[in-house]
């Protein structure tokens, strides 16, 4: 019998995430993610080639506003900033697109509440800057092995003998629903 490759739950607490009814074994998330750090200006050391420090912090805030996951540390979003910076360093047109867009941001963008940041970004949807940052963020975040594991993706299974004996049909909550009476 292959071992059951389920996430290790160190603590028994099951937390509600984001107010939804979604239940996740959160201890495993914490274990993998390390200490939670919220986006704060200057909280992360960013070694950029094309962008200056302020621009990097602004981009980090944009990435987190696009796909805000409070349990992810800034380091995770910083990886996305580094990818955009590398593209800007390699292509002057990209650098101009990013720098010009960031220069037009409200001065207090990183300080205002999320709803306000979101409101401003909605006005940029469709722009080359937005498309670039959106694409890099969605791929950089959910294509990242650490993040996708945190979100419950279990990855390659063939080397573990598939899921035949590891829970392909282990759903437990369905039978508790009551059939519609007719």
């Amino acid at each position: 019998m292959p071992d059951r490759r389920r996430p290790t739950v160190l603590r028994r607490d099951i937390l509600k995430i984001g107010g939804s009814a979604t239940l996740l074994p959160f201890a495993s998330v914490l274990e993998l993610a390390g200490p939670i750090r919220r986006a704060q200006a200057g909280a992360v050391a960013v070694d950029c080639k094309a962008l200056d420090h302020a621009q990097a912090i602004l981009l980090l805030s944009v990435a987190r506003t696009l796909f805000p996951h409070d349990f992810l540390p800034d380091e995770q979003y910083t990886k996305i900033v580094m990818v955009i910076d590398a593209k800007a360093a390699a292509d002057n047109a990209v650098a101009m697109t990013v720098k010009e867009a960031l220069a037009a941001f409200p001065n207090d963008f990183t300080a205002v509440v999320e709803a306000q940041r979101e409101g401003y970004l909605r006005t940029l949807e469709g722009s080359p800057f937005f498309r670039l940052v959106y694409q890099e963020t969605i791929v950089g975040l959910y294509g990242d092995a650490t993040v996708s594991t945190l979100l419950g993706y279990e990855g390659s299974s063939v080397e573990h003998g598939g899921y035949l004996n590891r829970g392909f049909d282990d759903i437990s909550w369905l039978p508790t629903l009551k059939p519609i009476g007719k």
Partner: protein, 523 residues
């Protein structure tokens, strides 16, 4: 493999098949088993099971036809359709759904009547005529749920159980794990399914039928079959009498070659097959080979598709287990009184990772609520809608006037717009999908339109009259008697079923027809 045949380029006795997928691979093996010499040209590389990994991104890069194409209408301009370029072609990628057409679908024109804007036609054959060939296809492929293979249906995974529960609560009855060409028990020298997931990235253990490790090696073992991978067909040539006599292709080293042929069979998927015929125009065939009807490339169909993803109240782990072993068939039945003709199937389909979910559930979405639903990835259930897409003359594959591929040839320009029937059907199917998941307790339910099409059909269709289509009921071109269409291009209508089983059944039947004609010296 010393026993594998090698045929000379000037050997005029061989059958040349373009493509090694469900149509070409099956046809090639069936002919080789009958002692007929076959050269199979395949544009893609040959992978082994060891090359197949549980990594959708890696495998997509390995399997996809990445040569440029142009899309218009409702299609993505750069990626109008999604097909494979590899030995085994889409049978490496396919999810394994192996469903027979319903009786009425063989005569859709008569059943649905005159639908404005649609170029509907009845197949030039009957439902009954096809059943023995379906029997043989199911036995060959090891279809779970088929008495001819003698295999029980696959067990249902979590994603199936959610669909099953919601659908039954709504009163649907034809709900099961499908007829799947995936071994539910060891069969034909291949192992039983281990519920690995990742079916569409290629089955790493070979439990899913694919010509890559069934038809192709068996054909080679006869000594009558030569596979030439990385050989891209560029043109079919003909003699002064208008008979096909060679295929010109560019080989793995980039060198142009010309293989003589007694018979040519084209099975390059409904995108590349019409393209090849259009590229083969000549003084005798100015509009493209076998195109006196003007129907080559017309009536392009891709199924009316869409998808639904639901965030359920508990864990589903949708990537565990067989991806498409789950189906609701009730809505596939044609019923009068609906606002559309034909019907649709709902089939389980996982999002394939958080990136797949984030990109596909609601393309372009972002923000707090969307991120919250992505955080519920463990709880996501998903399905795919597969419905009948009505043929329309305007939907087509043509040669793009501007864009050329790496060989200097005009690329396929694929155009598709929904018929109003398609739009109504998709809307209804999305409503049904939503209702099913809500009946099972879903929170957010996302429904969406098509992905780039993997089911491509109709662009060299069969017809009783040479005026209405490209080939007869055996796939034999009306205009060129030794030219055959051996893939989904010959479909007359899309039906609501996944096309592979019917392509295989038609290929087996075609091999029977060709071999008998050859014996009688009629070909």
């Amino acid at each position: 493999m010393s026993g594998v045949a090698r045929f000379a380029l000037d050997d005029t006795s061989v059958v040349v098949i373009v493509g090694s997928g469900a149509g070409g691979g099956t046809l090639g093996n069936e002919l080789a088993q009958k002692g007929i010499k076959v050269v199979c040209l395949e544009a893609g590389k040959r992978l082994t099971l060891g090359d197949i990994h549980n990594d959708p991104a890696e495998m997509s890069a390995k399997l996809t036809w990445l040569d440029p194409r142009v899309g218009s209408g409702d299609l993505d301009p750069q990626v109008p359709a999604w097909i494979c370029k590899t030995v085994g072609s889409t049978t490496v990628h396919w999810a394994g759904a192996a469903l027979r057409f319903q009786p009425h679908e063989w005569h859709a024109r008569s059943t649905y009547g005159d639908v404005a804007g649609a170029s509907l036609l009845d197949w030039p054959m009957t439902h009954e005529e096809m059943q023995p060939w379906y029997d043989r296809a199911e036995k060959k492929m090891g279809v779970a749920g088929s008495s001819h293979a003698g295999l029980p249906r696959l067990p249902g995974n979590n994603n199936y159980k959610v669909l099953d529960y919601g659908a039954r609560r709504l009163g649907y009855r034809e709900v099961h794990t499908g007829n799947m060409a995936i071994n539910s028990q060891p069969y034909d020298g291949r192992p039983a399914c281990l519920q690995i997931g990742f079916c569409m990235s290629g089955c790493a253990i070979g439990a899913k039928w694919s010509t890559l490790y069934t038809e192709v090696p068996r054909a080679e073992a006869t000594g009558n079959f030569e596979l030439r991978p990385q050989c891209h067909a560029m043109r079919v040539e003909h003699d002064a009498a208008g008979r096909a006599n060679a295929v010109v292709y560019v080989d793995a080293h980039g060198v142009n070659q010309r293989q003589s042929a007694r018979i040519v069979c084209v099975a390059g998927n409904a995108i590349e097959t019409p393209r090849l015929l259009l590229l083969s125009s000549s003084g005798t065939f100015p509009d493209g080979l076998a195109n006196s009807s003007g129907q080559v490339g017309r009536n392009y169909m891709m199924h009316t598709t869409g998808a639904a993803y639901a965030v359920m109240p508990g864990e589903v782990h949708p990537d565990r287990g067989t991806q498409m072993a789950g189906i609701v068939m009730d809505e596939a039945r044609h019923r009068t009184g609906r606002e559309f003709v034909g019907g649709f199937l709902l089939e389980t389909l996982p999002p394939q990772g958080p990136l797949g979910f984030a990109r596909r559930a609601k393309p372009g979405a972002w923000g707090r609520q969307y991120a919250r639903d992505i955080e519920g990835y463990r709880n996501v259930a998903g399905l795919w809608i597969v419905g009948e897409d009505l043929p329309q003359t305007i939907n087509s594959v043509t040669l793009d006037p501007k864009v050329r591929d790496q060989h200097g040839l005009p690329v396929a320009h694929v155009h598709h717009v929904d018929h109003p029937n398609d739009a109504k059907m998709r809307k209804r199917a999305c409503e049904v999908a939503r209702s099913i998941y809500e009946a099972a307790g879903a929170g957010t339910v996302y429904t969406r339109g098509p992905f780039p099409a993997t089911h491509n059909m109709g662009t060299c269709r069969q017809s009783a009259s040479p005026r209405d289509g490209v080939c007869n009921k055996y796939g034999q071109a009306h205009d060129v008697e030794n030219l055959f269409i051996a893939d989904g291009s010959q479909f007359v209508n899309s039906t609501s079923e996944n096309p592979t089983l019917t392509i295989v059944a038609l290929a087996i039947r075609q091999s029977d027809y060709i071999s008998k004609k050859m014996v009688r010296r009629e070909l």
